[in-house]
Subunit: 164 residues, 2 copies
């Protein structure tokens, strides 16, 4: 097994795998189901979907891949907690946004070289990156993969059948 | 930034980070709180803690690091769903098991070389590994890190304060 490209590929595969698993769950949940809170007093499924869209959308500029696509919704899903009285896109619209943002990322990820993955992202300064070179794009992808798994575990509670 | 050791270190750091975050949550939850289900009709916190111990314990033989420590509880936490009528260790005991198994792993991880991380684990045959060399120890660690994040997201629902 060659390195570093094979090692970078491991991290990319992990992202793909978690995304595929999440999408299977999302596909199994009806729009109505996503309007329910994941547990009493907790966020609704629609909010978590919007939150994940905003976080993945922000990865576009943070990884220097282009312009974010849904910036007008970031405050709703990043700065504020879920509030059923606040306007937000429909579940149908969010499903489309989710596909678009992840498809965009996937296309860009395919052409990034292993060397580029080890470069700094925009959330770290040149100065800090010189001292902490592990704060690179690949590390950000690892963090975002775990972030997705975290909310995946929560969204599972909207399934009707008992599951771990 | 050097590779491949630096890339391996990224994955190890990600494991450490998720474990640290999980332990902060675990520390903030009382024993009584862990006896509650994470959502109506779902597993209790105590079960998820036992489940994570069993999964991490199984990593010891799977990564060829030694003998598992709590094998007698694996059926309870891996093969069967949560059942409050079934005997299991106390929360206090599980907290101690959790510390022990993760400390054991941490010590072993510290001495594994980058080359060793790219070797096969015991859950894949020599034949399959020849065809799919990405099924190595580092890949297993990536999967287990996401598994931890997944259940972390669920256990957060036992906190009294509303949180994403």
């Amino acid at each position: 097994m060659e390195t570093p490209s094979a090692l970078t590929q491991l991290v990319l595969n992990s992202w793909d795998l978690q995304l595929t698993r999440f999408n299977q769950l999302l596909h199994a949940l009806s729009d109505d189901r996503l309007l329910l809170p994941m547990a009493p007093g907790r966020s609704r499924g629609i909010y978590i979907l919007g939150h994940l869209i905003a976080v993945h959308d922000r990865m576009i500029p943070t990884l220097y891949l282009g312009e974010q696509m849904y910036g007008s919704w970031h405050d709703t899903f990043l700065k504020n907690p879920d509030d059923p009285t606040v306007a937000m896109p429909s579940v149908q619209e969010l499903r489309a946004y989710w596909s678009s943002v992840n498809q965009f990322l996937e296309e860009k990820f395919r052409i990034l070289s292993p060397a580029e993955w080890l470069q700094k992202h925009s959330a770290v300064s040149e100065e800090d990156f010189a001292k902490e070179p592990h704060r690179n794009k690949l590390n950000l992808l690892l963090n975002r993969t775990n972030h997705l798994s975290y909310h995946h575990g929560q969204l599972v509670f909207l399934k009707e059948k008992l599951e771990l």
